[in-house]
Symmetry: C2
Subunit: 235 residues, 2 copies
């Protein structure tokens, strides 16, 4: 996707708004006529489970559409909602505008398609871990993914701004066990020892533990990267 395509998209962004951490960006039952784009912060797609638990499916970073599947699938899965994990700033694009845009721009259409395929890639990876991997691997992999996606949008922080609860809900582990796993990682000098917030110290080792192969994530060129353009356009 080149900048020309981008600029076009930017013109159709509407209704920018802020959402504070923990609040829902999309409720499960809603069927809005627009898609939502994350501009700032981190959001997640999740589903409420029978017991009240939360299953996190995917994370949405700045530059990601977080509910494009609703646009594509005629009968949406109405049980999936989107929640802000940190304070977020989001914008919306009307379906009708998307439709018009895609009509004459095969490259833009393919870019969005690609984003969906990437999401599937990440899901495959997570599924792979859900199975064979130990809790250590799963948590490590999750952290690697977060770092990779941070870098993809130009932020090279060693901080992972997720709570242990978030990690547990995404990895499919109990909070207690996530906590113990993180302590193990701390004892291995892979994570920092600060209680609040997770800080990655030895990233190489983290990748080794996770058997993380970032190749399935080749996002820098793909999904994100237009955030900057977005932000500029709004000023």
């Amino acid at each position: 996707m080149n900048n020309d395509e981008l600029e076009v998209l930017v013109q159709f962004v509407k209704h920018q708004k802020r959402v504070s951490a923990g609040a829902d960006i999309n409720r499960a039952a809603e069927s809005p006529k627009y898609s939502t784009l994350v501009l700032e912060g981190i959001a997640c797609s999740y589903k409420r489970l029978a017991g009240g638990g939360r299953q996190i499916y995917s994370f949405h970073y700045p530059g990601d559409f977080c509910d494009l599947y609703r646009y594509v699938l005629p009968e949406r899965d109405k049980t999936i909602a989107v929640q802000a994990l940190s304070d977020c700033s989001v914008a919306t694009v009307d379906y009708s505008d998307i439709e018009q845009l895609l009509a004459g721009r095969p490259k833009l259409a393919q870019a969005l398609w690609r984003a969906s395929v990437m999401e599937a890639s990440i899901l495959r990876q997570r599924l792979s871990n859900a199975r064979r991997g130990s809790a250590l691997q799963r948590v490590a992999d999750l952290l690697c993914e977060q770092l990779a996606r941070h870098e993809a949008i130009g932020v090279c922080s060693r901080h992972v701004p997720l709570s242990q609860v978030d990690i547990a809900d995404a990895a499919g582990l109990s909070i207690v066990h996530v906590n113990r796993t993180i302590q193990t990682l701390r004892n291995l000098n892979v994570l920092g020892k600060t209680r609040q917030a997770i800080e990655v110290i030895d990233r190489k080792e983290l990748g080794r533990i996770a058997q993380f192969n970032g190749r399935y994530l080749n996002m820098p060129q793909l999904v994100s990267n237009w955030t900057v353009h977005m932000e500029e356009a709004e000023k």
Copy 2:
């Protein structure tokens, strides 16, 4: 996707061939210049694990492209391969042809996009089951998915033509435990007692056990259904 779009696609199908059960349709390292379409039989996307194990990600039924992600992603994940689970008949479509086709046909492009989103949907569902949920739920859900997909292509058999090994590799369970789980299902009179092959007797109960909500699978109108047209076109 309407029939007009279909007919166009059919014209570009090349190199039909047969693959016998257990053989690879795509090897992991290959980077072919075409995409493969399943015409008959059941295939799966899988990855070889360190210990020699096999992790099955998704199943491909007649009418599915099984490696379209290779076309969309510039840097493919070269560790995923496709294998025939039963005797299959497959055809290929060259990338160059796909490109030409999509250029002027936004609806066709969207149909393929939709297929990717659906695959992500299925992966989400499987992920959901991966760690939450007992082995009983996981196996039951897997069987429900197979039945649903069979129906999606017009086959209403109560037969699931997968071996227990296949189920184990897809559900992320050991073969031994899958076997015991299936026996439990048999004792609940949900599955037939024949040793060879799996026969679903009480489908309602199976769905209840799996807490299966087929709504995430709305494929009848989407992915498949063009198989019949394909077959006719080849004669």
